[in-house]
Protein backbone atom coordinates (compact mmCIF):
# COMPACT_ATOMS: atom_id res chain seq x y z
CA UNK A 1 0.00 0.00 0.00
CA UNK A 2 2.78 2.41 0.95
CA UNK A 3 6.46 2.20 0.14
CA UNK A 4 8.82 4.93 1.24
CA UNK A 5 12.51 5.17 0.44
CA UNK A 6 14.83 7.47 2.32
CA UNK A 7 12.37 10.27 2.83
CA UNK A 8 13.59 13.63 3.98
CA UNK A 9 11.37 16.57 4.72
CA UNK A 10 13.27 19.77 5.24
CA UNK A 11 11.20 22.87 5.96
CA UNK A 12 13.89 25.44 6.35
CA UNK A 13 17.61 25.23 6.25
CA UNK A 14 18.56 22.67 8.89
CA UNK A 15 14.98 22.18 10.04
CA UNK A 16 14.59 18.47 9.38
CA UNK A 17 11.05 17.31 10.01
CA UNK A 18 11.86 13.84 8.70
CA UNK A 19 15.23 12.18 8.26
CA UNK A 20 15.85 9.11 6.16
CA UNK A 21 12.48 7.41 6.60
CA UNK A 22 12.11 4.10 4.80
CA UNK A 23 9.15 1.84 5.38
CA UNK A 24 6.72 -0.49 3.73
CA UNK A 25 3.11 -0.93 4.73
CA UNK A 26 1.13 -3.70 3.11
CA UNK A 27 -2.49 -3.77 2.11
CA UNK A 28 -4.75 -4.64 5.04
CA UNK A 29 -2.31 -3.72 7.76
CA UNK A 30 -3.13 -1.78 10.91
CA UNK A 31 -0.24 0.44 11.87
CA UNK A 32 0.24 2.74 14.83
CA UNK A 33 2.52 5.69 14.37
CA UNK A 34 3.75 6.73 17.79
CA UNK A 35 6.12 9.27 19.21
CA UNK A 36 6.07 12.51 21.13
CA UNK A 37 4.49 15.67 19.76
CA UNK A 38 6.67 17.24 17.12
CA UNK A 39 8.37 13.96 16.25
CA UNK A 40 7.17 14.13 12.64
CA UNK A 41 4.05 11.95 12.69
CA UNK A 42 1.81 14.55 11.11
CA UNK A 43 4.42 15.39 8.47
CA UNK A 44 4.69 11.72 7.54
CA UNK A 45 0.91 11.38 7.27
CA UNK A 46 0.78 14.47 5.06
CA UNK A 47 3.24 12.76 2.75
CA UNK A 48 0.94 9.74 2.59
CA UNK A 49 -1.98 11.76 1.20
CA UNK A 50 0.07 14.15 -0.87
CA UNK A 51 -0.46 17.28 1.15
CA UNK A 52 3.35 17.52 1.19
CA UNK A 53 5.91 16.35 -1.33
CA UNK A 54 9.14 15.05 0.23
CA UNK A 55 12.22 17.19 -0.13
CA UNK A 56 14.22 14.07 -0.89
CA UNK A 57 13.41 10.41 -1.37
CA UNK A 58 10.59 8.51 -3.04
CA UNK A 59 7.17 7.53 -1.84
CA UNK A 60 4.64 5.28 -3.51
CA UNK A 61 1.05 5.21 -2.31
CA UNK A 62 -1.40 2.71 -3.78
CA UNK A 63 0.87 2.22 -6.76
CA UNK A 64 1.40 5.90 -7.49
CA UNK A 65 4.65 7.75 -7.21
CA UNK A 66 3.68 10.77 -5.13
CA UNK A 67 6.75 12.75 -6.12
CA UNK A 68 5.94 12.54 -9.79
CA UNK A 69 2.16 12.37 -9.64
CA UNK A 70 0.71 15.09 -11.88
CA UNK A 71 -1.44 17.56 -9.97
CA UNK A 72 -4.41 16.58 -12.11
CA UNK A 73 -4.38 13.05 -10.73
CA UNK A 74 -4.07 13.98 -7.08
CA UNK A 75 -7.84 14.39 -6.56
CA UNK A 76 -8.41 10.88 -7.86
CA UNK A 77 -5.81 9.41 -5.51
CA UNK A 78 -7.36 11.28 -2.59
CA UNK A 79 -10.68 9.58 -3.28
CA UNK A 80 -8.99 6.32 -2.36
CA UNK A 81 -7.73 7.70 0.94
CA UNK A 82 -9.79 8.73 3.95
CA UNK A 83 -8.23 11.20 6.38
CA UNK A 84 -9.31 11.86 9.97
CA UNK A 85 -7.90 14.65 12.12
CA UNK A 86 -7.67 15.42 15.80
CA UNK A 87 -9.79 18.53 15.38
CA UNK A 88 -12.48 16.79 13.24
CA UNK A 89 -12.63 19.58 10.63
CA UNK A 90 -16.40 19.51 10.34
CA UNK A 91 -18.48 22.25 8.78
CA UNK A 92 -20.50 23.77 11.59
CA UNK A 93 -23.05 25.52 9.40
CA UNK A 94 -24.72 22.30 8.28
CA UNK A 95 -26.14 19.08 9.65
CA UNK A 96 -24.38 15.75 10.05
CA UNK A 97 -26.07 14.55 6.89
CA UNK A 98 -24.96 17.59 4.89
CA UNK A 99 -21.40 17.32 6.19
CA UNK A 100 -21.16 13.94 4.54
CA UNK A 101 -23.35 14.68 1.53
CA UNK A 102 -21.07 17.57 0.73
CA UNK A 103 -18.18 15.16 0.17
CA UNK A 104 -20.20 13.04 -2.21
CA UNK A 105 -21.35 16.11 -4.10
CA UNK A 106 -17.78 17.33 -4.30
CA UNK A 107 -16.75 14.24 -6.20
CA UNK A 108 -19.79 14.40 -8.42
CA UNK A 109 -21.79 11.46 -7.04
CA UNK A 110 -25.29 10.97 -8.31
CA UNK A 111 -27.67 12.91 -6.06
CA UNK A 112 -30.20 10.10 -5.82
CA UNK A 113 -27.64 7.71 -4.39
CA UNK A 114 -26.27 10.11 -1.78
CA UNK A 115 -28.98 9.56 0.86
CA UNK A 116 -28.68 5.83 0.51
CA UNK A 117 -24.89 5.86 0.93
CA UNK A 118 -25.06 8.16 3.95
CA UNK A 119 -27.64 6.00 5.71
CA UNK A 120 -25.24 3.08 5.36
CA UNK A 121 -22.18 4.93 6.54
CA UNK A 122 -23.94 6.44 9.58
CA UNK A 123 -24.87 2.93 10.62
CA UNK A 124 -21.18 1.92 10.56
CA UNK A 125 -20.23 4.72 12.96
CA UNK A 126 -23.43 4.21 14.97
CA UNK A 127 -24.85 7.69 14.47
CA UNK A 128 -28.06 6.98 12.58
CA UNK A 129 -30.13 8.90 15.11
CA UNK A 130 -28.07 12.09 14.76
CA UNK A 131 -28.51 12.44 11.02
CA UNK A 132 -30.17 15.87 11.08
CA UNK A 133 -28.36 17.35 14.08
CA UNK A 134 -25.94 20.26 13.81
CA UNK A 135 -22.38 19.33 14.86
CA UNK A 136 -22.42 21.90 17.69
CA UNK A 137 -24.88 19.76 19.57
CA UNK A 138 -22.72 16.65 19.38
CA UNK A 139 -20.15 15.44 21.88
CA UNK A 140 -16.48 15.23 20.86
CA UNK A 141 -16.72 11.50 20.30
CA UNK A 142 -19.81 11.91 18.14
CA UNK A 143 -18.16 14.65 16.11
CA UNK A 144 -15.18 12.42 15.49
CA UNK A 145 -17.53 9.67 14.36
CA UNK A 146 -19.04 12.08 11.83
CA UNK A 147 -15.53 12.85 10.62
CA UNK A 148 -14.85 9.12 10.27
CA UNK A 149 -18.11 8.64 8.41
CA UNK A 150 -17.04 11.39 6.05
CA UNK A 151 -13.63 9.78 5.59
CA UNK A 152 -15.02 6.34 4.76
CA UNK A 153 -17.97 7.39 2.64
CA UNK A 154 -15.96 6.77 -0.54
CA UNK A 155 -14.91 3.29 0.52
CA UNK A 156 -11.24 4.21 0.75
CA UNK A 157 -8.53 1.58 0.56
CA UNK A 158 -6.46 3.50 3.08
CA UNK A 159 -7.46 5.40 6.20
CA UNK A 160 -5.07 7.90 7.73
CA UNK A 161 -5.91 9.10 11.22
CA UNK A 162 -3.83 11.82 12.80
CA UNK A 163 -4.34 11.71 16.58
CA UNK A 164 -8.04 10.95 16.17
CA UNK A 165 -8.47 10.39 19.90
CA UNK A 166 -6.28 13.27 21.01
CA UNK A 167 -9.20 15.34 22.25
CA UNK A 168 -11.29 12.51 23.61
CA UNK A 169 -11.50 10.69 26.92
CA UNK A 170 -10.54 7.06 27.37
CA UNK A 171 -13.91 5.41 26.95
CA UNK A 172 -14.76 7.39 23.84
CA UNK A 173 -11.28 6.79 22.44
CA UNK A 174 -11.88 3.08 22.64
CA UNK A 175 -15.12 3.41 20.69
CA UNK A 176 -13.32 5.31 17.97
CA UNK A 177 -10.52 2.79 17.89
CA UNK A 178 -13.05 -0.02 17.59
CA UNK A 179 -14.50 1.57 14.49
CA UNK A 180 -11.04 1.63 12.92
CA UNK A 181 -10.46 -2.00 13.91
CA UNK A 182 -13.76 -2.99 12.31
CA UNK A 183 -12.88 -1.19 9.11
CA UNK A 184 -9.48 -2.85 9.13
CA UNK A 185 -11.12 -6.25 9.53
CA UNK A 186 -12.97 -5.62 6.27
CA UNK A 187 -9.64 -5.11 4.54
CA UNK A 188 -9.02 -1.37 4.76
CA UNK A 189 -5.46 -0.40 5.56
CA UNK A 190 -5.38 1.85 8.62
CA UNK A 191 -2.55 4.09 9.76
CA UNK A 192 -3.17 5.88 13.00
CA UNK A 193 -0.88 8.38 14.63
CA UNK A 194 -1.14 8.66 18.40
CA UNK A 195 0.95 9.50 21.41
CA UNK A 196 -1.19 7.31 23.65
CA UNK A 197 1.03 4.28 24.04
CA UNK A 198 -1.46 2.53 26.34
CA UNK A 199 -3.82 1.90 23.45
CA UNK A 200 -0.98 0.62 21.34
CA UNK A 201 0.34 -1.81 23.94
CA UNK A 202 -3.09 -3.32 24.53
CA UNK A 203 -3.73 -4.06 20.88
CA UNK A 204 -0.42 -5.57 19.81
CA UNK A 205 -0.62 -4.20 16.29
CA UNK A 206 2.34 -3.06 14.26
CA UNK A 207 3.92 0.01 15.79
CA UNK A 208 6.31 2.44 14.17
CA UNK A 209 7.97 4.78 16.63
CA UNK A 210 9.30 8.12 15.47
CA UNK A 211 11.48 10.51 17.39
CA UNK A 212 13.04 13.66 16.04
CA UNK A 213 12.09 12.74 12.50
CA UNK A 214 13.63 9.26 12.51
CA UNK A 215 12.14 5.81 12.87
CA UNK A 216 13.63 4.45 16.08
CA UNK A 217 11.53 1.32 16.33
CA UNK A 218 9.36 -0.76 14.01
CA UNK A 219 7.74 -3.87 15.43
CA UNK A 220 7.05 -5.12 11.90
CA UNK A 221 3.96 -6.86 10.69
CA UNK A 222 2.16 -8.83 13.39
CA UNK A 223 -0.24 -11.82 13.21
Amino acid sequence: MIKAFHLYQIFEKNLYALKDISLEIEKGEFVFLVGPSGAGKTTLIKLFYGDLIPTKGQIIVYGRNMVRLPGKEMPYLRRQVGVVFQDFKLLYDRTVFDNIAFVLEAIGKDERRIAEIITGVLKVVNLSSKRDVMPHFLSGGEQQRVAIARAIVNDPVLILADEPTGNLDKKVSEDILNIFLQLNKKGTTVIMATHDEDIVKKLRKRMIKIEEGRIIEDTGKTE
Binding site: Y49, G71, M74, P75, Y76, L77, R78, R79, V83, K89, L91, F102, V103, E105, A106, I107, G108, K109, D110, E111, R150, N154
Partner: protein, 289 residues
Protein backbone atom coordinates in the same frame (compact mmCIF):
# COMPACT_ATOMS: atom_id res chain seq x y z
CA UNK B 1 -15.20 15.28 -14.64
CA UNK B 2 -17.69 12.53 -15.12
CA UNK B 3 -20.97 14.05 -14.07
CA UNK B 4 -20.98 17.74 -14.70
CA UNK B 5 -23.87 19.08 -12.75
CA UNK B 6 -24.52 22.67 -13.82
CA UNK B 7 -27.45 22.94 -11.44
CA UNK B 8 -25.10 22.27 -8.54
CA UNK B 9 -22.75 25.10 -9.52
CA UNK B 10 -25.56 27.60 -10.00
CA UNK B 11 -27.08 26.58 -6.67
CA UNK B 12 -23.73 26.99 -4.92
CA UNK B 13 -23.12 30.32 -6.64
CA UNK B 14 -26.46 31.66 -5.43
CA UNK B 15 -25.77 30.32 -1.93
CA UNK B 16 -22.45 32.17 -1.97
CA UNK B 17 -24.21 35.41 -2.88
CA UNK B 18 -26.68 35.06 -0.02
CA UNK B 19 -23.98 34.06 2.45
CA UNK B 20 -22.80 37.66 2.42
CA UNK B 21 -25.88 39.61 1.44
CA UNK B 22 -24.75 43.18 2.12
CA UNK B 23 -21.40 42.74 0.42
CA UNK B 24 -22.94 40.99 -2.56
CA UNK B 25 -25.53 43.72 -2.93
CA UNK B 26 -22.81 46.35 -2.95
CA UNK B 27 -20.88 44.59 -5.65
CA UNK B 28 -23.99 44.10 -7.79
CA UNK B 29 -24.75 47.78 -7.38
CA UNK B 30 -21.22 48.76 -8.37
CA UNK B 31 -21.36 46.60 -11.45
CA UNK B 32 -24.72 48.06 -12.41
CA UNK B 33 -23.52 51.64 -11.98
CA UNK B 34 -20.42 51.00 -14.08
CA UNK B 35 -22.59 49.38 -16.74
CA UNK B 36 -25.02 52.27 -16.51
CA UNK B 37 -22.24 54.70 -17.39
CA UNK B 38 -21.34 52.45 -20.29
CA UNK B 39 -24.93 52.19 -21.47
CA UNK B 40 -25.61 55.92 -21.15
CA UNK B 41 -22.60 56.43 -23.35
CA UNK B 42 -24.04 53.93 -25.84
CA UNK B 43 -27.42 55.68 -25.70
CA UNK B 44 -25.94 59.11 -26.35
CA UNK B 45 -23.57 58.08 -29.10
CA UNK B 46 -26.25 56.09 -30.90
CA UNK B 47 -28.65 59.02 -30.84
CA UNK B 48 -26.08 61.57 -31.91
CA UNK B 49 -25.09 59.34 -34.78
CA UNK B 50 -28.68 59.21 -36.01
CA UNK B 51 -28.89 63.00 -35.91
CA UNK B 52 -25.57 63.57 -37.65
CA UNK B 53 -26.29 61.03 -40.34
CA UNK B 54 -29.57 62.75 -41.05
CA UNK B 55 -28.21 66.26 -41.17
CA UNK B 56 -24.77 66.28 -42.60
CA UNK B 57 -24.69 66.98 -46.33
CA UNK B 58 -22.55 65.11 -48.77
CA UNK B 59 -20.59 68.23 -49.81
CA UNK B 60 -16.96 68.55 -48.84
CA UNK B 61 -17.55 72.04 -47.53
CA UNK B 62 -20.82 73.74 -46.74
CA UNK B 63 -20.90 77.53 -46.67
CA UNK B 64 -23.84 79.00 -44.79
CA UNK B 65 -25.06 82.29 -46.19
CA UNK B 66 -27.19 85.06 -44.74
CA UNK B 67 -30.90 85.01 -45.50
CA UNK B 68 -31.25 88.01 -47.77
CA UNK B 69 -28.21 87.51 -49.98
CA UNK B 70 -28.39 89.00 -53.48
CA UNK B 71 -28.08 87.00 -56.70
CA UNK B 72 -25.00 88.96 -57.68
CA UNK B 73 -23.21 88.19 -54.45
CA UNK B 74 -23.94 84.50 -54.92
CA UNK B 75 -22.49 84.62 -58.43
CA UNK B 76 -19.47 86.52 -57.16
CA UNK B 77 -18.79 83.98 -54.46
CA UNK B 78 -19.27 81.11 -56.88
CA UNK B 79 -16.72 82.60 -59.28
CA UNK B 80 -14.29 83.27 -56.50
CA UNK B 81 -14.42 79.67 -55.44
CA UNK B 82 -14.34 77.97 -58.82
CA UNK B 83 -11.25 80.04 -59.63
CA UNK B 84 -9.27 77.58 -57.53
CA UNK B 85 -7.95 74.58 -59.39
CA UNK B 86 -8.67 72.14 -56.59
CA UNK B 87 -12.39 72.83 -56.64
CA UNK B 88 -14.54 70.71 -58.85
CA UNK B 89 -17.89 72.42 -58.49
CA UNK B 90 -19.89 74.82 -56.38
CA UNK B 91 -23.62 74.47 -56.02
CA UNK B 92 -26.02 76.98 -54.58
CA UNK B 93 -29.00 75.62 -52.68
CA UNK B 94 -31.56 78.20 -51.65
CA UNK B 95 -33.58 77.80 -48.52
CA UNK B 96 -36.66 77.11 -50.63
CA UNK B 97 -34.92 74.29 -52.44
CA UNK B 98 -33.66 72.90 -49.18
CA UNK B 99 -37.17 72.94 -47.81
CA UNK B 100 -38.38 70.99 -50.81
CA UNK B 101 -35.69 68.36 -50.22
CA UNK B 102 -36.57 68.13 -46.58
CA UNK B 103 -40.29 68.01 -46.96
CA UNK B 104 -40.15 64.26 -47.33
CA UNK B 105 -39.21 64.21 -43.67
CA UNK B 106 -42.46 64.32 -41.69
CA UNK B 107 -40.88 65.56 -38.49
CA UNK B 108 -39.34 68.56 -40.18
CA UNK B 109 -42.49 69.34 -42.11
CA UNK B 110 -44.35 69.45 -38.84
CA UNK B 111 -41.69 71.60 -37.29
CA UNK B 112 -41.88 74.09 -40.13
CA UNK B 113 -45.64 74.23 -39.92
CA UNK B 114 -45.34 75.13 -36.28
CA UNK B 115 -42.70 77.76 -36.86
CA UNK B 116 -44.72 79.28 -39.72
CA UNK B 117 -41.55 80.11 -41.61
CA UNK B 118 -38.65 78.37 -43.25
CA UNK B 119 -35.80 77.97 -40.77
CA UNK B 120 -33.35 76.50 -43.29
CA UNK B 121 -30.37 78.55 -44.46
CA UNK B 122 -29.13 79.35 -47.95
CA UNK B 123 -26.03 77.33 -48.60
CA UNK B 124 -23.21 76.85 -51.06
CA UNK B 125 -22.08 73.27 -51.41
CA UNK B 126 -18.45 73.06 -52.43
CA UNK B 127 -17.02 69.90 -53.94
CA UNK B 128 -13.27 69.32 -54.19
CA UNK B 129 -11.36 67.47 -56.84
CA UNK B 130 -10.55 64.01 -55.58
CA UNK B 131 -7.69 63.90 -53.06
CA UNK B 132 -7.31 67.68 -53.06
CA UNK B 133 -9.31 68.25 -49.91
CA UNK B 134 -6.39 69.18 -47.68
CA UNK B 135 -6.43 71.33 -44.61
CA UNK B 136 -4.23 73.92 -46.39
CA UNK B 137 -6.79 74.27 -49.18
CA UNK B 138 -9.62 74.60 -46.72
CA UNK B 139 -7.69 77.27 -44.82
CA UNK B 140 -7.06 79.06 -48.10
CA UNK B 141 -10.79 79.11 -48.83
CA UNK B 142 -11.57 80.43 -45.39
CA UNK B 143 -9.06 83.21 -45.85
CA UNK B 144 -10.32 84.13 -49.31
CA UNK B 145 -13.91 84.38 -48.15
CA UNK B 146 -13.25 86.02 -44.81
CA UNK B 147 -14.04 89.53 -46.03
CA UNK B 148 -17.60 88.59 -47.03
CA UNK B 149 -20.13 89.46 -44.33
CA UNK B 150 -22.67 87.40 -46.27
CA UNK B 151 -21.00 84.23 -45.04
CA UNK B 152 -22.24 83.08 -41.68
CA UNK B 153 -20.28 79.90 -41.26
CA UNK B 154 -18.11 77.41 -43.08
CA UNK B 155 -18.21 73.78 -42.16
CA UNK B 156 -16.15 71.04 -43.64
CA UNK B 157 -17.52 67.54 -43.78
CA UNK B 158 -16.25 65.22 -41.12
CA UNK B 159 -15.72 68.01 -38.61
CA UNK B 160 -18.75 67.05 -36.57
CA UNK B 161 -17.91 63.43 -37.05
CA UNK B 162 -14.42 64.08 -35.75
CA UNK B 163 -15.70 65.81 -32.62
CA UNK B 164 -18.11 62.97 -32.15
CA UNK B 165 -15.34 60.48 -32.63
CA UNK B 166 -13.16 62.15 -29.99
CA UNK B 167 -15.97 62.25 -27.46
CA UNK B 168 -16.76 58.65 -28.31
CA UNK B 169 -13.20 57.61 -27.54
CA UNK B 170 -13.31 59.54 -24.29
CA UNK B 171 -16.61 57.91 -23.38
CA UNK B 172 -15.18 54.51 -24.13
CA UNK B 173 -12.07 55.10 -22.03
CA UNK B 174 -14.22 56.32 -19.16
CA UNK B 175 -16.46 53.26 -19.47
CA UNK B 176 -13.50 50.90 -19.51
CA UNK B 177 -12.08 52.51 -16.37
CA UNK B 178 -15.37 52.17 -14.52
CA UNK B 179 -15.90 48.63 -15.73
CA UNK B 180 -12.42 47.73 -14.57
CA UNK B 181 -13.10 49.21 -11.13
CA UNK B 182 -16.35 47.27 -10.97
CA UNK B 183 -14.43 44.10 -11.78
CA UNK B 184 -11.95 44.76 -8.97
CA UNK B 185 -14.75 45.36 -6.49
CA UNK B 186 -16.59 42.26 -7.60
CA UNK B 187 -13.34 40.32 -7.37
CA UNK B 188 -12.89 41.54 -3.82
CA UNK B 189 -16.29 40.37 -2.68
CA UNK B 190 -15.56 36.95 -4.11
CA UNK B 191 -12.34 36.96 -2.13
CA UNK B 192 -14.49 37.30 0.99
CA UNK B 193 -16.50 34.24 0.01
CA UNK B 194 -13.33 32.28 -0.68
CA UNK B 195 -11.89 33.22 2.71
CA UNK B 196 -15.12 32.44 4.54
CA UNK B 197 -15.13 29.01 2.95
CA UNK B 198 -11.54 28.09 3.78
CA UNK B 199 -12.36 24.97 5.78
CA UNK B 200 -14.86 23.87 3.19
CA UNK B 201 -12.30 24.24 0.42
CA UNK B 202 -9.68 22.40 2.48
CA UNK B 203 -12.03 19.48 3.02
CA UNK B 204 -13.00 19.45 -0.65
CA UNK B 205 -9.34 19.17 -1.62
CA UNK B 206 -8.86 16.48 0.98
CA UNK B 207 -11.64 14.29 -0.29
CA UNK B 208 -10.54 14.60 -3.88
CA UNK B 209 -12.70 17.28 -5.44
CA UNK B 210 -11.07 18.49 -8.63
CA UNK B 211 -9.80 22.09 -8.75
CA UNK B 212 -12.36 22.89 -11.42
CA UNK B 213 -15.15 21.62 -9.19
CA UNK B 214 -13.93 23.76 -6.31
CA UNK B 215 -13.52 26.87 -8.45
CA UNK B 216 -16.70 26.79 -10.53
CA UNK B 217 -19.15 27.87 -7.81
CA UNK B 218 -17.12 31.07 -7.36
CA UNK B 219 -17.17 31.68 -11.10
CA UNK B 220 -20.94 31.16 -11.28
CA UNK B 221 -21.25 33.48 -8.28
CA UNK B 222 -19.37 36.15 -10.24
CA UNK B 223 -21.34 35.63 -13.43
CA UNK B 224 -24.69 35.73 -11.63
CA UNK B 225 -23.69 38.96 -9.88
CA UNK B 226 -22.49 40.47 -13.16
CA UNK B 227 -25.66 39.59 -15.05
CA UNK B 228 -27.88 40.78 -12.20
CA UNK B 229 -25.94 44.05 -12.24
CA UNK B 230 -26.45 44.29 -16.00
CA UNK B 231 -30.21 43.88 -15.70
CA UNK B 232 -30.31 46.45 -12.94
CA UNK B 233 -28.39 48.92 -15.10
CA UNK B 234 -30.75 48.30 -18.02
CA UNK B 235 -33.73 49.05 -15.79
CA UNK B 236 -32.08 52.28 -14.63
CA UNK B 237 -31.23 53.17 -18.22
CA UNK B 238 -34.80 52.59 -19.31
CA UNK B 239 -36.10 54.83 -16.54
CA UNK B 240 -33.66 57.50 -17.64
CA UNK B 241 -34.73 57.11 -21.26
CA UNK B 242 -38.35 57.29 -20.23
CA UNK B 243 -37.73 60.49 -18.30
CA UNK B 244 -35.85 61.98 -21.26
CA UNK B 245 -38.66 61.20 -23.66
CA UNK B 246 -41.22 62.79 -21.39
CA UNK B 247 -39.18 65.97 -21.13
CA UNK B 248 -38.71 66.06 -24.90
CA UNK B 249 -42.33 65.31 -25.56
CA UNK B 250 -43.11 68.84 -26.77
CA UNK B 251 -40.25 68.81 -29.20
CA UNK B 252 -41.17 67.44 -32.56
CA UNK B 253 -37.87 66.77 -34.04
CA UNK B 254 -35.83 65.23 -31.27
CA UNK B 255 -36.86 61.66 -30.68
CA UNK B 256 -34.60 59.79 -28.31
CA UNK B 257 -34.05 56.22 -29.40
CA UNK B 258 -33.40 53.44 -26.93
CA UNK B 259 -30.23 51.40 -27.42
CA UNK B 260 -30.52 48.54 -29.87
CA UNK B 261 -31.18 44.93 -28.98
CA UNK B 262 -27.56 44.06 -29.78
CA UNK B 263 -26.40 46.75 -27.38
CA UNK B 264 -28.66 45.35 -24.67
CA UNK B 265 -27.06 41.95 -25.23
CA UNK B 266 -23.64 43.59 -25.18
CA UNK B 267 -24.36 45.07 -21.76
CA UNK B 268 -25.56 41.76 -20.35
CA UNK B 269 -22.52 40.01 -21.80
CA UNK B 270 -20.18 42.66 -20.39
CA UNK B 271 -21.77 42.20 -16.96
CA UNK B 272 -21.25 38.45 -17.13
CA UNK B 273 -17.66 38.86 -18.24
CA UNK B 274 -16.87 41.37 -15.50
CA UNK B 275 -18.16 38.91 -12.89
CA UNK B 276 -16.38 35.98 -14.48
CA UNK B 277 -13.00 37.69 -14.73
CA UNK B 278 -13.36 39.15 -11.24
CA UNK B 279 -13.78 35.62 -9.91
CA UNK B 280 -10.88 34.24 -11.92
CA UNK B 281 -8.55 36.99 -10.67
CA UNK B 282 -9.43 36.14 -7.07
CA UNK B 283 -9.13 32.39 -7.57
CA UNK B 284 -5.69 32.78 -9.13
CA UNK B 285 -4.56 34.65 -6.06
CA UNK B 286 -6.27 32.76 -3.27
CA UNK B 287 -6.77 29.20 -4.41
CA UNK B 288 -3.50 27.41 -4.86
CA UNK B 289 -3.34 23.79 -5.79
Amino acid sequence: MKSFNIRYFIKEGIKNIFRNKAVSFNSILTISLALLIFSIFLLISTNIRYVIEGWESSADITIYLVENISESKIAELKDLLTEEKFIKSVKFISKEEALKNFSEDDDIKQLIEILGENPLPNILEVYFIKDRKTSENIALLREKTSKYPEIEDIQSRGEIARILYTSKTLGLILSVIFLFLAMLISSNTIKLTVLSKETEIEIMKLVGATPLFIKLPFVTEGIIKGITGAFLSLILLYLLYFALNISFDFSYFITVNFISFQQVLLIILTGGLIGCFGALVTLRKFLKF
